[in-house]
């Protein structure tokens, strides 16, 4: 069995003149919970759909469990669970009927898990899907993706319509599911605090490129904000190693800088150079996301 759940190399996707994905390469191992973040239009959904073979890439390739995602075997497909951004439920059916029909596609179906989750998440399975709320439909879509006990679970903004309570409950369950070391989860969301709670790895997409691909903690340690306060006016050009953003205050004596891979040993030297006090602030994932996109 291939040890990688997903392997992406040089994935490039254009629709007409617009480049959506621009040379994405990465790997996902069993046990990884990957949070995908990016602005609207950054290419999150396209990336997830290209990974699953729903959208052929213009160049490069994606493979799942060692098979090219455009030509996956039935066995490999049966190991995948997918929650699309826009659900694919059948409005005329009841939730229960939809589950039964979906189960017909799989040789292994964990009905007991679904029953338990439906009760926990309060999904009214006896009602027609057409009359369910957006959040209920989203929960039902997630249930359908979990029924076949997938080894790779891909969720495209699965919590966007859920209330905070339901979101917390959902993420809790997701953590339980992901705690199984044989499973990999790829999870896109705009709610960065949720990703911070769940994901052990982060993909940050910007303009179709993977701006960050690594551990969540490593990302948080890597990006820091420096508050520089000088007693006299700071020089016109401030040379800081790994600076991403530099903002000067109007008084000319203070500045903030967001830097990558700050070496704490270099701080005293910098302080001396600038004749300033430098305070280091650790950033949360949301702040990092904002800084990287500002």
């Amino acid at each position: 069995m291939n040890s990688l759940a997903v392997q992406v190399s040089g994935l490039h996707k254009s629709i007409g003149p617009r480049v959506i994905l621009d040379g994405i390469s990465s790997q996902v191992r069993p046990g990884d919970v990957i949070g995908v973040i990016g602005k609207n239009g950054a290419g999150k959904t396209t990336l997830l759909e290209a990974l699953l073979g729903l959208s052929p890439p213009t160049a490069g390739s994606a493979s799942i469990f060692g098979e090219n995602s455009l030509h996956m075997s039935a066995g490999t497909k049966a190991r995948i669970g997918f929650v699309p951004q826009q659900d694919e439920l059948i409005p005329m059916l009841t939730g229960q009927r939809q589950i039964e029909l979906t189960a017909a596609f799989y040789s292994h179906w964990d009905g007991a898990l679904l029953k338990r989750l439906a009760e926990n998440w309060e999904v009214p399975l006896d009602r027609r899907i057409a009359v369910l709320s957006g959040g209920e439909r989203q929960k039902l879509s997630t249930l359908l993706a979990l029924g076949n006990s997938p080894d790779l679970l891909v969720l495209d903004e699965p919590v966007s319509s859920l209330d905070p309570l339901a979101r917390r409950q959902f993420l809790q369950q997701l953590l339980e599911i992901a705690s199984d070391e044989r499973r990999a989860v790829i999870f896109s969301s705009h709610i960065v605090s949720d990703l911070e709670r769940v994901a052990n790895r982060i993909w940050i997409l910007k303009d179709g490129r993977l701006l960050w691909d690594g551990d969540t903690d490593e990302l948080k340690n890597s990006i820091t904000r420096l508050h520089i306060r000088a007693t006299r006016e700071l020089p016109a050009t401030i040379q800081l190693p790994g600076v991403l953003i530099l903002r000067r205050a109007t008084d000319g004596r203070t500045a903030t800088a967001t830097v990558r891979d700050l070496s704490h040993e270099s701080l005293p030297v910098l302080e001396q150079q600038l004749q300033a006090q430098i305070e280091v602030e650790a950033l949360g994932l949301e702040d990092i996301f904002l800084e990287l996109h500002s």
């Binding site: 996707k13 629709i15 007409g16 959904t45 396209t46 759909e49 290209a50 699953l52 073979g53 729903l54 959208s55 052929p56 030509h71 075997s73 039935a74 066995g75 497909k77 049966a78 995948i80 997918f82 826009q86 694919e88 059948i90 409005p91 005329m92 059916l93 009841t94 009927r97 039964e100 029909l101 979906t102 189960a103 017909a104 596609f105 799989y106 027609r128």
Partner: protein, 455 residues
């Protein structure tokens, strides 16, 4: 600039398809005008090219914009949107009428035929009224298509019944030419009342219907259909069918087709012996149903096939075959409610016409297949060829078939039509099959649902 005018401008300039077609139409019209009276047919086609897309998309656009769940525009913007709809229809009418007026100067000619009595209207005014009516009804009809397809069929049925029987009634009053404008006017009045006060009216109607039904939900027909669809086994085949066609059982589809099409078939049959003159339009509507059924089913199934990509375990060509098989079964059931009454009526009333009727049904079935394969080929970004094929089919081929193919006419014409349609369907099948190899569900996403109850 008033809000309504700004909305009109935004609507007409926002969609690339509308812009391209309008530009092409304007070019054709200009060429036709230079060519003089000889270019009248080309002028008509040019006008139609410029007007067809904005007229058809107007209803859905207003529906989507006014949806409570899309944007919160209530209540003032509903009046503005209504104003915008009226303005667009008037503008499109002018696009149709003014070039004709320039070409013929019809306004100077006296009225012909049955326009008499106290309303001595000119031919150009009659043409303008007729055009305005058709465009108005088209906009209103397509608005309802986006609310609930069942409503649109009911609306179309009412319009057709009125056009057929209301005309006779008005004939007694010597005003038959007013049938269509009066229908459109009544349509606008009813629509305005509903659109501006929709939620309140809907609630009153619902309560009245509930009271009439002894407290039962008035939606009983839909529920009955749902029961038919929502039962049965849970094997792989019903599951595939449910995901592709929206129902695990073909029984539901048959019932729905019967409910929609059965009342329409005899009505059309009564006037299908000749397609000359005004009956050509009726014939076109009837013939248009077949490719329309093929196209809508295939478009929906192709989009829904996305849900089977991971579940059914098939590759793209396997999925193509699966979708094709299911669509053929479904199309047969959709055609059956028309074909069976046609056959029965022929045998019963005019046994000598049975062969002609069967040939006619075969031609219609093949035209439906053309629509189906055309829609199945639209699985990538639309190209110029896709647009051109659609336009040729819609604006040239179907009108020609409607003109040349009476239901009880010569079987030879039906056989020729069947043969041509079969060739086109086969070519489109090959084209569709090739395009499915690179099917991109990123382009072909499920259609956004517009909640029907929240206007």
């Amino acid at each position: 600039m008033s809000a309504e005018a700004r909305l009109v401008r935004t609507y007409l300039l926002a969609l690339p398809l509308v812009r391209w077609l309008a530009a092409a139409g304007a070019l054709v019209m200009a060429l036709a005008l230079i060519g003089g009276v000889k270019g009248s047919v080309i002028l008509g086609l040019g006008s139609l090219l410029a007007v067809a897309a904005p007229a058809m998309l107007l209803g859905p656009a207003v529906r989507i914009i006014s949806s409570g769940s899309s944007v919160r525009l209530r209540p003032a913007a509903h009046r503005k949107l209504l104003g915008m709809m009226c303005l667009v229809v008037v503008l499109l009418t002018l696009v149709m009428v003014v070039p004709q007026w320039l070409l013929y100067n019809l306004g100077a000619l006296p009225a012909q035929g049955d326009a008499r009595g106290f309303l001595e209207v000119t031919s150009s005014l009659r043409f303008a009224m007729g055009t305005w009516s058709v465009l108005s009804l088209m906009a209103l009809l397509f608005f309802f298509v986006t609310v609930k397809p069942g409503h649109s069929f009911a609306f179309a049925l009412l319009v057709m019944l009125w056009a057929r029987f209301g005309g006779r009634w008005l004939d007694g009053l010597s005003l038959p030419f007013l049938t269509l404008p009066l229908t459109a006017l009544a349509g606008w009045c009813a629509f305005s009342l509903w659109f501006l006060r929709g939620p309140r009216l809907a609630s009153i109607t619902q309560r009245l219907l509930q009271a009439a039904g002894g407290g039962r939900n008035a939606d009983f027909l839909i529920r009955t259909l749902q029961k038919v669809q929502d039962t049965g086994s849970t094997g792989r085949q019903p599951a595939i069918r449910a995901y592709l066609l929206g129902s695990p059982s073909l029984k539901g589809l048959l019932w729905a087709s019967l409910v929609v099409l059965l009342p329409m078939a005899p009505m059309f049959l009564l006037q299908m012996s000749s397609h000359r003159g005004p009956r050509w339009f009726d014939a076109l509507s009837f013939i248009g149903l077949f490719p329309l059924a093929g196209v809508t089913q295939a478009l929906a199934a192709t989009r829904r096939a996305r849900a089977l990509w991971l579940r059914a375990g098939l590759n793209r060509s396997g999925l193509f075959n699966l979708v094709e098989r299911e669509l053929l079964a479904a199309s047969t059931l959709v055609l059956a409610p028309i074909a069976v009454p046609l056959g029965v009526l022929s045998v019963w009333g005019h046994p000598q016409l049975l062969a002609a009727t069967l040939c006619y049904i075969a031609a219609m079935a093949m035209i439906a297949l053309v629509g189906m394969y055309y829609a199945m080929s639209l699985v990538q970004r639309m190209t110029f060829l896709d647009y051109a094929l659609g336009m040729i089919g819609l604006l040239a081929w179907l009108p020609l078939v409607a003109l040349l193919l009476p239901a009880f006419g010569s079987p030879l014409r039906s056989i020729a039509t069947t043969a041509v349609a079969a060739l086109v369907a086969y070519a489109l099948r090959i084209y569709a099959q090739r395009r499915w190899e690179h099917l991109d569900w990123r382009v072909l996403r499920p259609l956004l649902r517009v909640p029907g109850s929240r206007i």
